[in-house]
Amino acid sequence: MPWSSEEILETLRMTEVEHLDIRTTTMGISLRGCAADSLKDTLANTYERIVRNAEKLIPSATRVENELGIRIANKRISITPAAIAFEKFGTEEMIRIGETLDAAADAVGVDFIAGFSALVQKSATTGDRNLIEAIPHALSRTKHLCSSVNLASTKAGMNMNMILRMGHIIKKTAELTADQHGLGCAKLVVFANAVDDNPFVAGAFHGVSEGDVVLNVGISGPGVVLDMVRQHPDVSFNELYDIIKKTSFRITRTGELIGSRVASLLGVDFGIVDLSLAPTPEPGDSVGDIFIAMGLADVGAHGTTAALAMLNDAVKKGGMMAARNPGGLSGAFIPVSEDQAMIRAVKNGNLTLDKLEAMTSVCSVGLDMVAVPGDISEEILSAIIADECAIGMVNNKTTAVRIIPVPGKVVGDMVDYGGLLGSAPIMPYHNLSVSPFIRRGGRIPPPAHSLKN
């Protein structure tokens, strides 16, 4: 069947007018077997493994971008959670490993390498603890390194000891990167139900059941969905849902095409397509604006949670048929500093942490790129994390917290991180004591419905 000009113009509109791009092609590399008896050999093995596998990532992705005329915004690497790969090493050595990972990322030209991570949802090993203590130093001494810690899961419950510790680690990371407004915290995520094949940084890591090397793709495209919603101001929810589904299908198809081509050029397995709407600070590339286009006065209005729930599900259903292997986080992201409409809503006083928390119960992630005053206590940070973990654990979904206690800043200030990280308004929180609660320690057991067998 010949091409119709409608098909061609429609596609061009997506790629040229509505900012359709592929957010990330992320190469997952297993670092199992890189640990040697000496630190020196371990660093050499690790550097060699990453550079050997990823040196063609950027040339291959660039070639596919050129052929297809679709931009791939980011090329990144994820690795086996470092605490598992380098279990035997102490905190100082973990920091050196972090620096080596950074150097390898620099050598192959990717902007981020993620997986300086530990999975401690039930309990922590010595290696896990050593890695977690290394996080603030490693993030303050590196440029490309990203870190994540899984603190809870539906099967294991919530590790309250580590949730308490992460409040301290986040605060310390902010302090060590105070000259950059706590930028280190933008590269540190804590999770409940973290997924093994998430291509999105900062929370990406190459799960323990993955193969040697895999290429995963994260789609984007809030601008395309926004445009479609704006074109249909009066249709019913059923119709709107269907329109978003169809749009998501098209976006995901481009992700599928790009992933299969890049993986084929690299000669590695094509893993998953993550069907996530990820906003950027560019005007028009906003998830928040989609809620406004649906008919709400601002993000944070009553109805925002319902709007997000519908958007999240429609994106998934549309994308599921378009990708052979959908995976990762798959849903909608709501990172405050990276979304013009959300930044505006916080400044207007319409969007609060409480509303964001409610929204995280129906979207694919959690409190993301949220800035709070630098003098917030470690215990309150831990309690914010505990609430998010509870939502994830009970609802059998991924939740995350990427929060930045910005040193020296108070509510109403703005901090600019530049580029994709955007600019963050400092948000108020409930400054009420949580100390006796959060310091109980131990573990909150998993919910009854975790016993499925």
Partner: protein, 151 residues
């Protein structure tokens, strides 16, 4: 653009006519057709037939690309683009051209397989020519349109 089967038949008939000068018996025809089909299959993988691409060849690029040209109308727009394609030995499979008010737009489906130049060279030349004519030229592999619009 013709139906791919029709395109294949035309291709076969033209090859036979070239070889035999138009005088072919039924038996000769049967033998030659079989040979030509074998040759075509050997020379061109099925992926050359665009949207009939089998799903297991998704990792291979099509040799076809789509050139879209947008700009204010002025004389020589069609020639400006097609001259480059001819010079670079690309095969134009389909062309459509329209005006909306004074906005000119043209869509060409092109097969780059016969060209000795690689895709990027052809793309850069076309985009550059577009700039000289103050038109915007997009050159994208056909697969994007296939993936986005068709199952």
């Amino acid at each position: 653009m013709a139906n791919p089967d029709e395109k294949l038949i035309r291709e076969i008939v033209s090859i036979i006519n070239e070889r035999q000068g138009g005088n072919v018996s039924r038996d000769e025809m049967v033998t030659i057709v079989a040979t030509v089909i074998d040759q075509l299959n050997g020379k061109k993988a099925p992926r050359d037939y665009g949207h009939f691409t089998p799903s297991d060849s998704d990792s291979q690029s099509s040799s076809r690309f789509i050139v879209s040209v947008f700009g204010a109308n002025r004389p020589g727009m069609v020639h400006g683009i097609t001259a480059i394609l001819a010079e670079m030995n690309c095969d134009i499979l389909d062309i459509s051209q329209k005006f909306v008010e004074n906005l000119f737009y043209m869509i060409l489906v092109v097969d780059g397989a016969p060209s000795p130049h690689d895709f990027l060279e052809i793309k850069n030349r076309l985009v550059q020519r577009g700039e000289e004519m103050t038109a915007k030229v997009y050159v994208q592999n056909e697969d994007v349109f296939r993936y986005v619009n068709r199952l």
